[in-house]
Subunit: 321 residues, 2 copies
Amino acid sequence: MASTYPISKAIRRDLGKVEEGLKRLAAEPDGVLADACGSTLAAGGKRLRPALVLLAGTAGSATLAELMPHCLAVELIHMASLVHDDILDDAPMRRGRPSVHAEWGVTVGIAVGDYLFSKAFEVAAAAELPSAPSILAKTSVDLTEGELMQRRAACRADLARTEYLARIEKKTASLFETACRLGALASAVPGPAADALAGYGLNLGMAFQIYDDVLDVAGESDVLGKAVGADLRDGTMTLPMMFAVEETGAVDWLRGALGVDSPGAVADALAVIDRTSAAQRAKDVARDYVESAVGRIADLEPRGLRATLRDVGNYVIQRYH
Amino acid sequence: MASTYPISKAIRRDLGKVEEGLKRLAAEPDGVLADACGSTLAAGGKRLRPALVLLAGTAGSATLAELMPHCLAVELIHMASLVHDDILDDAPMRRGRPSVHAEWGVTVGIAVGDYLFSKAFEVAAAAELPSAPSILAKTSVDLTEGELMQRRAACRADLARTEYLARIEKKTASLFETACRLGALASAVPGPAADALAGYGLNLGMAFQIYDDVLDVAGESDVLGKAVGADLRDGTMTLPMMFAVEETGAVDWLRGALGVDSPGAVADALAVIDRTSAAQRAKDVARDYVESAVGRIADLEPRGLRATLRDVGNYVIQRYH
């Protein structure tokens, strides 16, 4: 289905301005830092988090200028965490290009992450919303804790589903939630509606990550921009793997491939997963989260926004990458 | 001379409260993150940056509660940058203990830095001073740029003095400046006096780093808590090395040791430096910066604070570690 998500021309145009803003920030530092930031930025990305800021903002009356700092901040935090995570996972590729540390070295990778991170707070602190830096900082703590939970649970084929869900909530859903909350608060949306939007974001983020985990075992490398099976190689246990273990009634096939640097072992495990209904079952769980997300905004005004957010939800669990 | 710096009992007691605050923050996360943060914290440190917040604060009327978030924030940023820098420099020791990545691995090292960093912004954002997150974010960008300048200039025995000074201003002096500025602003110190205190901090930071660089070529390992010659091994060109090159009229002895993993080569280069007056000349430059620092606060009230800040300046260029 959709290779891009269904938003209005107005929002798409605003996202273009966000892109320009990101480019300006990436060009600010000196030398290799600017080169590496520019390269990270040019690799693209869906910019889903700034889009959520803009969409949540349409529930109120904020101008683009008022929403812009939050759009930039959430995307900068996201980019910073990707750059650092790629070092931790020693991921060679990101979005079809070499990852920052693969191209520029670990030193530059750590510094680029720190820079993007600092810039996010600088931008957020300059916004009109006094609570922005604090909300963003809490989220950034969540992202770090989530990434560490992932590393700590590495190669644990017996990981409990609750642990998986707690991890993806911190690692992914928290920033989706924050994007929606910041957009709503910047737009002076009343408390209950702002909470509804944040709840939408949280559930959407859960769906997004679960579907991402499905793509990693059942997607196609050339569309993903990275090799499939990355989670297997990293030793990151995901929901579709859990379902496949459950369905096969065995775990040995997974233990032999989880965190093992062997293309053959990974291919074998992917083949096992492919023979089960694990991918479909995980997609169903993702769909449940989208339904919860949509349920949270059942009373949200305007009605057109509700429809768009539902469409975004459907996109998230039907995208190719 | 002094192994600790000359501050009043009241400030020393307040620093004890800062230490308790840092401990509470370090204990907040789960599992290995808390262990690693706790270990970093327990390694100690002079807590000079929070002390500067407190001292600058005494130029106005702020309570400890008003200054506390800034004390915590500057020390957290400092700790975060140390943890990440140790990874970049692959430094095995810090303050007489294994560095975080040496003890817990690079993954935990990156995550601990990110966590401390996020916490700094969370704490700063909760302060009563709206400009705090922005000031802190700019400084944190400076620290990152300074560290990258250092890596970029690695092994360049012909580094210009202006480049060295620009680097240490970003890497060290900027956070000293910010500590003083935040203390002054939180204490509602009038603009000119706040600028004077910030100028004091900036110059003090320059002196501190230059003297640090002297200790690295002329200090004693057991007092420093890390091996001498670390800058030589890392390939980090410093002011005393520049003076020694100037005085010997040769650079080959330095090229043979800069960034070279050879205890013999490092010992030889240290012996060459020791036969010159490079350490003393660099100490003189550090003293000049202390004099500039003290000159910036010539009109500052109360007079007792002026005397204390002068004593702190003298401590900085006479300490053992």
